[in-house]
């Protein structure tokens, strides 16, 4: 019995080893093809030396790039930082371990640091300083706004317009959803049945998504639609000090009611946002004079 088990184990060991060997060959073949690339397949550079390596660094009022360069040289690891810290210069007198030196430099420039998979020190801004902002670049934000809009449930505009009783007004997605139900669906539901999500029309599905994303009474689609509209043609936009109701043909300009407006070219060339009202400007001026 024991002999049988041992023999069986031996056979299977051979088969499993063969299996493993084949797999190893399959996976190392493309790697070994890159003979000039010994790094592929290697483990990430170890950062255990950060505790043991000593740093001796004295820098007086140096720009951040010079500080990071000197620090990188001393700790023996590359460093990357995502953005420009608010503080542009610094002074250091460090006689400590590499880890502690990194902690001190990161703290000074309001950053956190972590070790990347290839041993590089990745510094990230923490935004603990009130005036520090993330990077906001026009093209990136245009792309962000357009992409957010693309994943958001569509604004089923036809269902969301109500002709009550004299003017056309937008209604909430919840109300619009109700109006999209066919008489057959209403009858089915009235009879006590339940509908599955799959039985809804595409428009109804979008409206349910919108209801959930909106929560109480917000209109989340409008947020990203509005941001997208404002940013998409920003270079063609302009600012203007305007009287209120400038855009409404049925209204006369209201005397003494002015505001600084941002006007962007939309389809009807009527996209605008009121940035500052005359009243706010006046209040701000008075406060400044005080």
């Amino acid at each position: 019995m024991t002999n049988n088990i041992l023999r069986s184990l031996q056979q299977h060991f051979v088969r499993i080893s063969a299996c493993l060997f084949t797999l190893l060959c399959v996976f190392t073949a493309p790697l070994s093809a890159q003979q000039s690339n010994p790094i592929i397949g290697q483990k990430a550079k170890s950062n255990s030396d950060l505790e043991t390596r000593n740093v001796d660094l004295t820098l007086q009022d140096k720009p951040i790039s010079a500080i990071i360069e000197a620090l990188s040289d001393q700790i023996g690891h590359g460093i990357v930082l995502d953005g420009k810290p608010l503080l542009a210069r610094g002074s250091f007198k460090l006689h400590t371990s590499a880890k502690s030196a990194l902690d001190q430099v990161a703290e000074c420039f309001d950053c956190s640091w972590t070790s990347g998979k290839h041993g590089v020190i990745l510094m990230s801004k923490r935004f603990h300083q009130p005036d520090d902002l993330p990077q906001i670049h026009l093209k990136e934000m245009q792309k962000m706004a357009a992409d957010l809009l693309s994943i958001w449930p569509e604004d089923a505009s036809k269902a969301r317009l109500s002709h009550y009783p004299f003017t056309t007004v937008r209604i909430s997605p919840g109300n619009a959803l109700f109006r999209t139900f066919s008489s057959d669906q209403v009858k089915y539901l009235n009879d006590g049945h339940v509908l599955t999500y799959q039985e809804l029309t595409a428009e109804q599905k979008d409206l349910i998504h919108l209801c959930i994303l909106n929560g109480a009474s917000g209109d989340s689609h409008d947020i990203w639609d509005g941001l997208n509209a404002r940013l998409a043609k920003m270079p063609e936009s302009y600012l203007q000090w305007r009287s209120w109701f400038h855009n409404r043909l049925d209204q006369h300009p209201t005397p003494f009611q002015y505001s600084l407006e941002y006007i962007w070219p939309d389809l009807q060339d009527k996209g605008y946002e009121r940035l500052l009202t005359a009243r706010k400007v006046l209040e701000a001026t008075r406060e400044k004079q005080k």
Binding site: N37, I79, K84, G116, L133, H137, M141, K143, C211, G218
Partner: protein, 309 residues
């Protein structure tokens, strides 16, 4: 005896399972980036060592320098070109450098066509499903902006950021329930998001000179770069603060990263009772009436009530 039984089981066909498990393990252990490069000669070039002691620079300039040193065509997608980075890397392969830049900023890189490498934001699922919204939101919003608005950061980091930005409002943090309640965390994040809007608004006051009050159009191109930036920051943070308002709880939850709005639609059921449409979720074989989303009221301002799923 047990051993031989197990071995017999293995002989009955579980070798293939074993093989597949191993296959999965090996494929997971391979660096993701190497799978995206098809051409062998490009893979070889990707091992070229580069020297990037660039200091403060942009992503476009960094990739341009890498292209110069390797002969590869490495570019960022147009929208990432202006990203400011600080780079101190030496004697590192192009592949590892690209991995590092991607890891640091939450980007990906890939070979678009032979010899052309692109750095881009992560791809996201564009299928219109609620479950896709939260991961897509994270892929779309830049990593530093996510960190700034308090998404994906620890309670402690949020507490420090709040204390620094609002030193006079410190008493809020002393409330014991502050991080036990979703609305309290919302409150802290909202304050952080609203701060830049107020700052930019204050700066805009100085724009309204007597000359501006004459009503002449001021084209965007005529604004200083600082004014252009202020305007952009104002719109981005105003949109985020609106999305985070209590009127938009579903989206606010998404931004807070606390209560994912993703709902498995296959379990969603719609019913109609007492003139009210309910959307419920099937849980454990039972259908629970989860959320009343709409009343029968046909007036433009319907009764609308939100309760959590």
């Amino acid at each position: 005896m047990k051993i031989s039984m197990n071995i017999r089981k293995m002989r009955d066909g579980s070798y293939s399972q074993f093989f597949f498990i191993l296959l999965a393990c090996f494929s997971l252990s391979l660096p993701a980036s190497s799978q995206t490069v098809e051409h062998k000669e490009i893979r070889t070039l990707l091992q070229t060592k580069v020297h990037l002691r660039l200091g403060e620079t942009t992503l476009a300039k960094t990739l341009q320098e890498m292209s110069k040193q390797t002969g590869l065509q490495i570019q960022a997608q147009d929208y990432l070109n202006d990203r400011d980075i600080l780079v101190e890397l030496d004697n590192m392969s192009v592949q590892d450098t690209l991995d590092t830049l991607a890891e640091s900023n939450g980007w990906i890189w890939y070979e678009a066509k032979q010899g052309q490498i692109f750095m881009a934001r992560p791809k996201f699922n564009k299928t219109r499903q609620l479950l896709n919204v939260a991961p897509a939101f994270r892929a779309i919003v830049p990593k530093d902006l996510r960190r700034y608005i308090g998404l994906d950061i620890s309670d402690n980091d949020l507490r420090i950021a709040f204390r620094q930005s609002q030193p006079n409002n410190d008493s809020v943090l002393k409330r014991p329930e502050i991080f036990n309640s979703r609305s309290a965390r919302h409150h802290l994040q909202l304050q952080l998001i609203e701060a830049p809007v107020k700052v930019q608004e204050r700066q805009m006051f100085s724009w309204v000179t007597e000359d501006v009050k004459k009503g002449k159009k001021i084209p965007y191109a005529k604004l200083t770069s600082s004014q252009q930036h202020s305007l952009l920051v104002y719109f981005v943070f105003k949109a985020l603060s609106t999305a985070f308002s209590p009127h938009s709880t579903g989206t606010a939850n998404l931004i807070a990263g606390l209560d994912p709005v993703g709902v498995d639609e296959s379990r969603m059921r719609i019913s109609y009772k007492n003139n009210i449409i309910y959307v419920g979720i099937l849980q454990g074989g039972k259908f629970s009436l989860g959320e009343m989303i709409m009343s029968e009221n046909r007036l433009p301002d319907p009764l609308f009530q939100h309760t959590k799923f």
